[in-house]
């Protein structure tokens, strides 16, 4: 069963990508891409209902569908379904705009390329979370950069070109640093006596952690956290995030903010679990606490005076992933379980936010906060979507972020990181107030009565689904939920 689910999850997006690229009818690409995302979602739910053995490795020990992978697959499946669904109307309006533009920039947007890259992006993320081999994980994360660079520059404007260039450069640099880290861990493992073919396998490294040299591992782990941190949007390589998110098509921003950064962080979690065994927990935990708190600080300070709503959402993502890093630094089972819930709910909330502002952008042709007013009055569905997304993101009950944030903060009390948690609370408050102020500015007020946004047929069901899923998760999944605690246990108590 394990092997069947893993192979399906890996092969399906590739097949979907090939079909999307070769078939001319847009409807076929749309249907097959969304179906693929739904199958990924189904696989994650099937795996969670314990039809698989989470500790079993398959296909020569290269992959496994453990509990962390199951939860990440759930995030990938759900957000890519929403993003795929939203992409249909996004592409329609983009192509319509291009046809009616007096001064079209470049050739018309190509649906086939879009869907092919969309599916390769999904494939790369699935590969990263299912991989049991640090080498394959690295290749997968690099592949996400390759697939998304063109998607970031999809609009072919000078600004989107700038964003794509910066994105490609910063992320490729970060990932190169991670490769150096992977090579050093390989060096430590081979010199510890592990065979070359097994030296990068995560389960082998955690079982034989005593063989690994400390100073080499310190260097290797440090470089890997720094490098994969670039892709997760952690300081110091966070600057690509607002640029890329503000220029990318809204559904792609949803995927990058909602899933990609969490997928990269799940890789860091795996690295940390090896590091904790070899070097003790204080090394990686202190490292993550510093990076996490610095990311939260930078993001929440930039949020205060933010004028661009897409950059605002991206900075909120840096702040959230910073908080996730802080949670990982606490290292308790409760903190990790809450972190996983946080990642799932944030993925849904951020997708809803990006999909809503995508409609705003296509209606107002501007991403400036000051230009948008009275959404609730003039375009109630978009305004409502944005308000709900805000409530999810700032952690109001009954949404899951309320429970996850409370649990994470509480779990710090028994650790050395009480001050870090106090800092995190301060930054959460600053960013929540800043986010709420900007969103309320856009949604409340009278606005210009002629500024109603044409809402596509697809928008309401998408927003409704994200809303329902978030409420359900808030009610059903608390951080003390058995599934999450078991997942956290497998990450913390791996030894």
């Amino acid at each position: 069963m394990n092997q069947l689910l893993v192979s399906t999850a890996l092969l399906l997006p590739i097949v979907a990508s090939l079909i999307s690229f070769s078939v001319k009818r847009a409807k076929v690409s749309e249907a097959i891409s969304i179906a693929t995302s739904l199958v990924l979602l189904a696989i994650s739910i099937l795996a969670m209902t314990s039809v698989v053995d989470p500790s079993r490795v398959v296909i020569d020990g290269l992959f496994r569908l453990d509990r962390l992978a199951q939860i990440m697959l759930l995030v990938i499946g759900s957000v890519s379904t929403l993003a795929g669904w939203a992409s249909i109307s996004f592409l329609d309006s983009l192509i319509l705009n291009h046809e009616f533009s007096r001064n079209p920039q470049g050739p018309p947007p190509n649906r086939r390329t879009y869907w092919a890259l969309f599916n390769i992006f999904s494939f790369a993320m699935v590969l990263a979370v299912l991989s049991n081999n640090l080498g394959i994980t690295w290749v997968a994360i690099e592949t996400t950069t390759i697939a998304t660079t063109f998607l970031v520059g999809f609009k072919r404007t000078p600004l989107s070109l700038e964003a794509a260039w910066k994105y490609a450069m910063i992320c490729s640099f970060g990932i190169a640093i991670a490769l150096l880290g992977v090579s050093i861990v390989y060096f430590a493992a081979v010199h510890g006596g592990l065979s070359g073919s097994q030296a990068l396998q995560i389960n082998v490294l955690t079982t034989h952690f005593r063989l690994l040299d400390h100073s080499a591992m310190r260097l290797g782990v440090g470089l890997m956290i720094l490098g994969f941190g670039a892709k997760a949007g952690l300081v110091p390589f966070h600057s690509w995030l607002p640029d890329a998110h503000s220029q990318a098509p809204a559904p792609i921003s949803a995927l990058m903010s909602g899933v990609l950064i969490s997928v990269a962080f799940s890789v860091i979690l795996r690295v940390v679990s090896i590091s904790n065994l070899v070097l003790g927990s204080s090394y990686a935990h202190t490292y993550l606490a510093v990076m996490g708190l610095a990311s939260m600080a930078v993001a929440s300070l930039l949020l205060i005076n933010q004028r661009d709503y897409k950059r605002m959402l991206a900075q909120s993502s840096i702040e959230q992933i910073g908080f996730v890093a802080v949670a990982a630094s606490f290292g308790t089972e409760l903190a990790i379980a809450a972190l996983l819930l946080h990642v799932v709910v944030h993925g849904l909330g951020k997708s809803l936010a990006f999909i809503s502002v995508g409609r705003v952008e296509s209606g107002f042709h501007s991403t400036e906060i000051s230009k948008v007013k009275g959404l609730l009055k003039n375009s109630p569905s978009v305004g409502f979507g944005l308000i709900v997304a805000l409530c999810i993101l700032i952690g109001l009950p009954p949404f899951g972020l309320f429970w996850s944030e409370t649990a994470i903060i509480t779990s710090a009390s028994g650790t050395h990181f009480v001050l870090v948690s106090a800092g995190a609370i301060a930054f959460i408050l600053i960013s929540s107030v800043a986010l709420a102020r900007s969103v309320l500015k856009m949604t409340l007020g009278l606005g210009d009565s002629g500024s109603a946004i044409a809402v596509s047929r697809g928008f309401l069901p998408i927003a409704g689904t994200a809303f329902l899923a978030s409420v359900l998760l808030g009610i059903l999944a608390s951080p003390t939920n058995g599934l999450l605690i078991r997942a956290a246990h497998s990450i913390v108590g791996i030894g």
Binding site: N133, G135, I136, W138, V139, E142, T143, T145, I146, T149, F150, G153, R156, P158, L159, L161, E162, A163, A164, W165, K166, A168, M169, S172, F173, A176, L179, L180, V182, S183, I184, Y186, F187, A188, V190, H191, G196, S197, A199, L200, D213, S215, A216, L219, P242, D243, S246, Q247, L302, Q306, R311
Partner: protein, 218 residues
């Protein structure tokens, strides 16, 4: 000449070509030096394959020679011909002397950085692995101080060559699967960066990355 002195010779060629690439601003020269560097890099797995009789290393050697010795430097050289020369713009933020000084300092830092690794294994190749790290730092230097898009791509290639050199010298190469995936990803990444550079010429009329300064928080 023994095998280990040939490995030392190849390592020296790697480092020297890196230092010169960093100090030159002429793309065609950088392309030629990059080709030399790729060939020097591929001799490492070839020499090791000969000594250890390993098929994986032979394959890795041909892969390195093909991708890093022929295809990628070829792309840089063709870009040098295609992209209009922008003589009125300075291509580097620092002078040649400063670049040489930084490269020297990078080499010393890299040597100090790999001391913990050479405690673990005192073989001469592991000691030479500091060359890989030095190339990584020189690559970073090029990335930071070159202003033209292709110059930065060259920096990225030097950095990646450094990581590959580190892999070969420290551990007789990373597993073939990673080498294969890594080379393929590198090739795609460079092709994408190249495509973006072409779009830059169309949109901005220059490949000066300092022109890309519209985005940001002001």
């Amino acid at each position: 000449m023994t095998n280990s002195s040939l490995i030392d010779l190849a390592s020296a060629a790697l480092l020297l070509s890196g230092v010169f690439i960093a100090s030159y601003n002429d793309l065609a020269k950088q392309g030629s030096l990059l080709r030399l560097q790729g060939i020097a890099l591929s001799t490492l797995p070839f020499l090791m394959a000969f000594e250890h009789n390993s098929l994986d290393l032979w394959i890795a050697g041909f892969l390195v020679l093909g991708v890093r010795g022929i295809v990628l430097p070829g792309l840089v050289k063709s870009a040098a011909k295609r992209i209009p020369a922008e003589k009125e713009r300075s291509h580097s933020r620092i002078s040649t002397t400063t670049s040489l000084l930084i490269s020297g300092a990078s080499t010393i830092v890299a040597y100090l950085g790999t001391i913990p690794l050479s405690h673990l294994d005192s073989s001469s190749t592991t000691k030479a692995s500091s060359i890989g790290l030095a190339l990584v730092l020189i690559g970073v230097q090029i990335l930071i101080f070159k202003r033209m898009a292709v110059g930065q791509i060259v920096g990225f290639l030097v950095l990646d060559n450094g990581i590959a050199a580190f892999g070969f010298l420290a551990t007789l190469g990373v597993p073939l699967l990673l080498e294969l995936g890594g080379s393929l990803d590198l090739l795609f990444a460079i092709l994408i960066m190249g495509a973006l550079t072409s779009r830059m010429i169309v949109k901005f009329g220059t490949t000066d990355v300092d022109e890309l300064s519209e985005l940001g928080d002001r």
